[in-house]
Every structure is written in C-alpha cells, then in structure tokens.
Symmetry: C2
Subunit: 238 residues, 2 copies
C-alpha cells in the first residue's frame, strides 16, 4: 500500500508527538494515510518545555482533531539526563555505542501505554510512534522486537482481546529509515521543520546548542540531503 493513499480516511489514530523531527514526520505520514489525528504529548519532567511548544505548533499546523498534553512526573523516580540535572553529553563522543545517558527508563513503554488507554477510549486501532532503530540503536525500546512485543501485549490488554474486533497496530513508519531519509520524507509531505525542536539542551530563546547527540544527528541528516535546516535559518545560524 502506498503511504500517501487515503485508505484510512476518517479512522482515528493516536500519534505520539514530542515536537521533535521524528514524531512530527510520523504525524505527517499518519495524516497522509488519511487518519483522523489524535496527538499525545507528555510533560514528564523533561529539562525544557520548548518541545511542548513545538508540539503545539506542529499539532495546529497538521490540523489534528485533538491534542492532549498529559502530566506524568517521571522525575519522581529520578535517573536520566533528560529529566535530572546531570549534564547532557556533548562534543565528539561516538553516537550509538551502548545506552546513552539520555535514555529515560521505560519511557516508550510508559508513553505507548498511555496512547493505548486513549486509543481504547477512541475505539482506535492505530497508534503511531516515531521510533528509529538506526540512529537510536542504543535505546532498547526503539527496536523492532520490542515494538512487536508491545503490540502483542496490547492486543491482550484491551476490551477487543475479550470481545473480539480489529486488532491494534503499532505503526513505526521511521523504524528503518536514516535521519536523512526521514527528513526527505517529511519535506515531500510539506513538513515545516522550523517548528520542530530536537535539541537536548536549547537556550532560553529556543536556539539549539548544536553539540548534543540530537543536534548532531539532525545536522548530519540535513547535510546529507544538501538542505539547510530551517530551524537554524530561523535563528540565523546558517
């Protein structure tokens, strides 16, 4: 099936939306497939709330039916660079060797579980998540075998498991794409990447640091395509 047909027209889908490049592209892909979009974001104790502003901007641009920002204070458990006061690693350390310090324990499991709760209430059978197995090979919860196990569990967890009906699908349209391929797909679908936020440690005005793993991966992706990053243009950094 072509990704840009509209066979899902009007069918509700829950899309996890952080406001970053990957989840924004995922939302655009779900839209291109004709789904009615329900975007879900989290205030989970992340170091900066800029990504939630991006998520709101993106949700508006894409015409989502509803956007929920849910509070889940993972800081109460402690334990990650994204939610604690540990310094974000920068510079030239190799990317993708071992589990990065920026890994948040069980985050995708928590987020997918909450997406599942909303999907069940919406009678939706489709959840989209922008995980990527190539650029984030260090994250256990970005791997295809993890997603397959979550989907199997989810199909035993809900009403449909007892009452029958269409099974739930966890869509991971980016899982085998490189960052450059993700950006190319988004550009094709008209995504405005100036609205997305990728940096782990942005300045107060939203200016990306350019040095964290996430900035470097993003920069490499645009560079491979020979495209300027519209977010950097916005801050006149290019």
């Amino acid at each position: 099936m072509s990704q840009s047909d509209s066979s899902a027209r009007g069918t509700p889908a829950v899309v996890l939306l952080s406001g970053g490049l990957d989840s924004t592209t995922t939302l655009a892909i779900a839209k291109s497939q004709g789904f009615e979009l329900y975007a879900l974001s989290f205030r989970y104790g992340q170091r900066h709330l800029l990504e939630l502003q991006s998520a709101r901007e993106v949700a508006l641009q894409m015409g989502v039916r509803e956007h929920i920002v849910l509070d889940v204070d993972l800081r109460k458990f402690g334990g990650s660079a994204l939610t604690d006061d540990i310094a974000v690693p920068k510079g030239n350390a190799p990317i993708g060797r071992g589990i990065p310090i920026t890994y948040v324990p069980a985050r995708n499991t928590v987020f997918l579980s909450l997406a599942l709760a909303w999907a069940e209430i919406l009678a939706s059978h489709d959840i989209f998540i922008g995980v990527n197995a190539l650029d984030y090979s260090g994250y256990p919860d970005c791997r295809p075998e993890y997603i397959a196990a979550f989907e199997r569990m989810a199909n035993l967890a809900t009403r449909a498991a007892i009452e029958g009906g269409q099974p739930l699908t966890i869509h991971t349209p980016l899982i085998q794409l490189s960052k450059a391929q993700i950006i190319a797909r988004g550009v094709e679908l008209g995504v405005d990447y100036a609205s997305t936020s990728s940096c782990y440690d942005p300045a107060e005005d939203g200016r990306p640091c350019g040095e964290c793993d996430s900035c470097r991966l993003r920069g490499k992706g645009f560079a491979e395509l020979g495209l300027p990053d519209p977010l950097l243009q916005r801050f006149e950094l290019e």
Copy 2:
C-alpha cells in the same frame, strides 16, 4: 519455594499499591518473601481519594522503604465509571459477566509501565501486582496470558535487554486465588484489613456502600471464612 521464606532479603521490589484488599495482601506477601518494599500508588482521577489514604496507612504499617504517589490524570481521556461521573453499578447484577463498566482502559498496562520505569532505576528485577483472574474475569488485563505478554515486552524494553543481567519478573501471587483465599493468606500474614479500602463509592467518612461489586466480593470473601470484616467493625456496620 515457600512463600514465607526470606530468600529475597534486601532485594528491592516495586509493589503496586492501591490501598485495597488485594494490593495490600500482595504487599504483605512480598514482605514475607524478604523483599525491600517500594510501593507505588497513583492519583489517576479516581472518583475518591480515600484509597490513597488507605495506601499511605498500609505502606506505613508494612514498613516500606519508599512510597511514591504519582499523578497520571487518566480523566483527560474520559471513559470509565471509576474516573467519570457515570453511576457505579450496584445491587444484584451478576458479577463477572462481560467487561464491567468500572473497567479503566489499559489501567494495568499504564500502572505496570510506570512500575517498570521505577524498577529499572532501582535496579530491581521484581514487580508485584495484585491482579486476580477469578474474581475479575471480566477485566482483560487481569488474565495470566496478559501478564506473561507484559513480562516478555518488559524484558525487551529495558537496559537489561541489551546489557544482559537478571530478567524482570512480574509477580502475581493472587492470580488464581478466590477472595476468601486472599483474605485467609493476609490474615495469616497479619494484615490489618481495617486499613484497606475496597468500595467503589464510599461515603465521605470512608464508610463503604456495601452494594457495589467490590463491596459484595469483599463481603462474600469474609463470609466464606466466617470472619468479620474489620473495616465494617470500624464503622460499627457489623
């Protein structure tokens, strides 16, 4: 292995604690096995917060190492008698036929996911949940096949999945017990059931309604054992 030995002495375990009869008994069982107890409760938009008072009381009595009450506002999604303003069913309707209206979509999946996040941070390999497949046969997420699928997913989701180490176990010590058997086990372990809260619709002073499914199941359990319910004695209802 006997349930009352102490082979797990000092090993951390995360125990889901609602403050009800089942989760309190589960906590007592984890304690009897020698685990160091980390109790996790949720303010998820339930109709009454009495059960959180019970959870705090129980956690103190059992000497837990830490008790976290996490906010997760499931009301934002809508959709259940426990979190909405739909009336709680009472009276003589049969229990356990179909999915009860009191079912909260994906609740155990959400709660177990958050327990998993905390377990990973604590380097714990043990999560306890007081699900029961007999009395709650209508709830899809109380069935053994669901728990097994969650455990499998969890073992792909975390650091240990990549770095190796002891796998995670989801302990469900009550899953095949009747309510009477659960109470008998708790009494044996010295549980003070006067501190527990089971009612779906208690009065402001905590007095149970006596008519909802949960009150009826609890009453039947004590009756089968020929024991008075200490909670009712507290309110001089017996």
